[in-house]
């Protein structure tokens, strides 16, 4: 019999209404079985002929058909009813079918079992005598168990009473079948199909029933093992609590860890394992509410009361939810992490100690290197400057080389110290208002000598009217020097290094500084690692002296500490451009914490100007930092602001304070400033003139607009004051 001759009846449409079989937990078996690997024991049990015998025999008697059970390969497991009379007609070896492949036409292999199992539906085949045989697959989810084959079926009506009896046995309705059978005489294909479906239904019902009981037995056994496992765990406390915190289960590990036998703790609130302080601070409640909100709490460490002494417990709490989402309780796992914490602390201490040791060593090395460097610097510069007699041009040139190398070595020693500070996050950055144009010009002039010795042009491309930066000028100089020196180092003779600066297009609150060279360029891989510690790209090896390779690493730290970022764009053979950003100076940002809505409305923002009349003979610019530190002492720290120099004129002759005070407060500050400046330096006879004005706000603007408005006014007043046009009163 070939497959073309068989008709498939898809019975899945019948399966669902016929099988509302659900487990007590509300999960259907069909769903469950797809997820379960059947053990071979279970498989055997599901095809146990003794178990099937009565059902199939009843069915066969009722329907007056022959019935056989096969495994999934189509091997007959046993003849059940009327088998021999029917199937001897078509099978020579009828006496010994068991264990053989089912076959209805001699010599032709029967594919019905395989087809039925593959399609999940009933397969009908006809033998040489014209009899209809029905093959019904026995499927449990995705598992193919075997098939029931009924031969010579449906040449007569099923007997209603017997049919009902069978149907009732398996809790299914025989009515649809009976309805169809009654209406159609003689027997048509619809009855055939409905009868086949009954057989299929019988098979499935039996399987589900058997499966449920077997699975329950297996589950019970697995549960027993799981319980043993849970109880056997000794280094984790596993327990559950109800939503109010009362213990509902308590494993052996918990007994072991907390010294509470389960008999004593059941029903008690789990807070009894916490320390007194934690209970006072509602730590257990907080943990539960966190778990209730987030579903779980992971790795919360708490001090808990152990058997002998307190220990650090690592808590993992999972909320147990019902279908509706209401919390049924919590599962809690506690692990003793005292040792882990102790080790972590020791490791952290060891790491710090290593860091300190490294810093001490490098600090010592740097100190020791500086002493001979100083002597070399002094004697070579003495010679170079002709203090010990005139030099020939050649002698001069050689000495200049020596001095240049001393300077290079000095900067390497500086880097050596900086590097430990980068790693211990101790690099100091003191931002102030600074002019980038001025800083760039200064650095270009110091790098000029270095560049001209290689006939490299140093150019600048600076946007006009760019705002000042809020950065540490010493550190900006350090970054720029490093980038420009690198540019010079990797640019061949006759090339150019260009420094540019302009507001960043995407964000005008940042200024972008660029240093481009016409050197060998950097490969894309190297662009990634070039800012890492000790990164020395291959090409840099070709440069004669590459320094310590720490410059870019330090620069990156310095830039990020000042609120910017640094990156490089390059193409091999076409030069590189290094970019870094720095925040633009903003008076509004600087004064934001004083210019609050409440302060502005109360009218207690006062701008104070301190004009210092310079007495001739004093070395002016050097006293400015001193005056600034005196003024800093006279104002309320963290509240009043001593403004940075808002004009580039040197030396600074007027200092401005934005104070959060009224006119009475101003008098106090003014008196303090006069007294402090007098005692600061009697010799220089500084005579300060102190004036003030109260800043009022225009009503009807948003707070941001007010802050901006006030800062613009401050800036304007300061400029007017400095130009002598409009002095503060």
């Amino acid at each position: 019999m070939t497959s073309e001759m068989s008709e498939r009846v898809n019975s899945t449409a019948y399966l669902h209404p016929l099988f509302p079989i659900t487990s007590p937990h509300g999960m259907s078996f069909a769903d469950k079985s797809t997820d379960t690997e059947l053990s071979s024991r279970l498989r055997d049990d599901l095809l146990d002929l003794d178990a099937w015998g009565e059902i199939l025999a009843t069915y066969g008697k009722t329907m007056r058909v022959a019935v056989a059970l096969t495994d999934s390969n189509g091997c007959v497991l046993g003849n059940l009813h009327n088998a021999q009379p029917v199937w001897t007609l078509v099978h020579d070896a009828a006496h010994d079918w068991i264990g053989c492949s089912f076959c209805i036409n001699p010599g032709v292999p029967c594919t019905a079992v395989a087809e039925a199992l593959a399609s999940g539906g009933v397969v009908r085949t006809h033998d040489q005598a014209g009899l209809t045989h029905v093959t019904v697959p026995l499927l449990l989810g995705k598992h193919r168990l075997g098939a029931i084959i009924a031969g010579q079926v449906f040449d007569r009506y099923p007997e209603p009473l017997a049919l009902r009896h069978v149907a009732k046995e398996f809790g299914i309705s025989a009515q649809p079948l009976w309805d169809v059978a009654r209406k159609q005489r003689p027997i048509g294909s619809t009855v055939l199909q409905a009868s086949a479906d009954l057989l299929l239904a019988l098979g499935q019902a039996f399987l589900q029933q058997r499966y449920a009981s077997i699975m329950e037995a297996e589950l019970a056994e697995a549960n027993g093992q799981f319980r043993l496992l849970v109880n056997g765990v000794r280094d984790h406390a596993l327990f559950t609590i109800d939503p109010t915190g009362r213990v509902t289960s308590w494993n052996g590990g918990a007994q072991h860890m907390f010294d509470y036998p389960d008999t004593k703790i059941m029903g008690q609130n789990f807070s009894c394992i916490f320390t007194f302080e934690d209970v006072q601070n509602h730590v257990p409640e907080k943990l539960l509410s966190k778990a209730a909100q987030a579903g779980q709490v992971e790795n919360e460490e708490c001090r808990v009361r152990g058997k002998q002494k307190h220990f650090w417990g690592d808590f993992n709490i999972t909320a147990l939810l019902e279908d509706g989402g209401t919390i049924r309780g919590f599962a809690i796992i506690v692990q003793d992490v005292t040792e882990r914490r102790r080790i972590a602390i020791l490791m952290e201490e060891a790491k710090q100690e290593r860091g300190h040791a490294q810093e001490r060593l490098l600090s010592h090395v740097s100190h020791e290197l500086r002493t001979p460097l100083t002597a070399i610097y002094l004697v070579t510069t003495n010679l170079l400057d002709g203090l010990l007699g005139d030099l020939t041009p050649e002698q001069h040139e050689h000495l200049a080389l020596a001095v240049g190398n001393v300077k290079q070595m000095t900067s390497m020693v500086d880097d050596l110290l900086d590097i430990t500070r980068v790693e211990s996050h101790k690099l100091t950055v003191e931002p102030q208002r600074a002019s980038l144009v001025k800083l760039i010009a200064e650095v270009l002039s110091t790098c000029h000598k270095n560049a001209s010795s290689k006939s490299i042009r140093l150019c600048s491309d600076l946007a006009v009217d760019q705002p000042s930066v809020w950065a540490d000028p010493i550190r900006v100089r350090q970054i720029l020097t490093n980038l420009i020196d690198n540019g010079i180092k990797f640019t061949p003779e006759g090339g150019a290094v260009t420094v540019g600066s302009r507001p960043l297009a995407e964000d005008s609150s940042l200024l972008c500084i660029s240093v481009s060279d016409s050197g060998c360029g950097i490969s894309p891989e190297d662009c990634e690692i070039i800012f890492d510690r000790l990164a020395q790209v291959k090409s840099s090896m070709q440069a004669s002296r590459s320094g310590l390779g720490l410059g870019l690493f330090i620069s990156r730290d310095l830039v990020s500490r000042q609120g910017g970022r640094i990156w490089v764009e390059s193409q091999l053979g076409h030069g590189s451009t290094f970019y870094f950003t720095l925040p633009a100076f903003s008076l509004a940002k600087l004064c934001a914490h004083v210019l609050t809505a409440a302060n502005l409305e109360a009218g207690v923002i006062t701008l104070i100007a301190v004009d210092v009349v310079w007495v001739e003979g004093t070395v002016e610019s050097d006293i400015v930092p001193e005056i600034r530190s005196v003024l800093e002492r006279c104002i309320h720290p963290g509240q009043d602001i001593l403004l940075p120099p808002l004009s580039d004129a040197e030396p600074e002759k007027a200092f401005f304070i934005v104070a959060c005070t009224d006119s009475n407060g101003f008098e106090v500050i003014a008196r303090r400033i006069r007294r402090e400046l007098q005692s600061f330096d009697t010799a220089s006879k500084l005579r300060p003139a102190i004036s003030s004005t109260t800043l009022l706000v225009e009503p009807g603007h948003s707070h941001e607009e007010r802050i901006d408005g006030v800062s613009v006014r401050i800036e304007r007043m300061v400029q007017a004051h400095l130009m002598g046009k409009e002095k503060l009163q």
């Binding site: 100190h367 002493t371 100083t374 002094l378 004697v379 203090l387 050097d622």
Partner: protein, 133 residues
């Protein structure tokens, strides 16, 4: 020669040679001491106009010299410039608080160092100083 007398306190003989030549060339008379005790002795005897002081000295460190000088009537007025290899982050503030007028880390730039000396001695900083470093 402007006749101003500078005491250089440093235990490094080579540095003394180099610095003395530089200071002499700028018109100062230089006397030296190589440890903290002799620094005080020499300072009391010679009463220099300025002291250039190293912090890392054999026996006691430079801070002791600053402290002692603060307690001696004839030395308290002598300005001290610290010239040390030590890290300014940890030592500059401390040195200034102890009475030093300036702190330079070794090796100090000749021009800046001389400018600080002149300023401390109340001498005008002439343009020629910058040209001839």
């Amino acid at each position: 020669m402007n006749g101003k007398k500078i005491l250089v306190v440093d235990d490094d003989q080579d540095l003394l040679v180099g610095l003395t030549a530089r200071l002499n060339a700028n018109g100062y008379t230089v006397i030296s001491a190589t440890n903290a005790i002799s620094a005080i002795t020499v300072a009391r005897k010679e009463v220099p106009d300025l002291i250039i002081l190293d912090l890392g000295l054999p026996g006691d460190d430079g801070f002791l010299v600053l402290e002692r000088m603060g307690g001696l009537a004839n030395l308290v007025a002598i300005p001290v410039i610290v010239l040390s290899a030590r890290n300014p982050i940890q030592n500059e503030r401390r040195a200034l608080d102890a009475g030093a007028v300036a702190f330079f880390q070794k090796p100090a730039d000749n021009r800046q160092f001389l400018a600080a000396i002149r300023r401390t001695l109340g001498e005008p900083i002439e343009l020629s100083t910058f040209l001839r470093t």
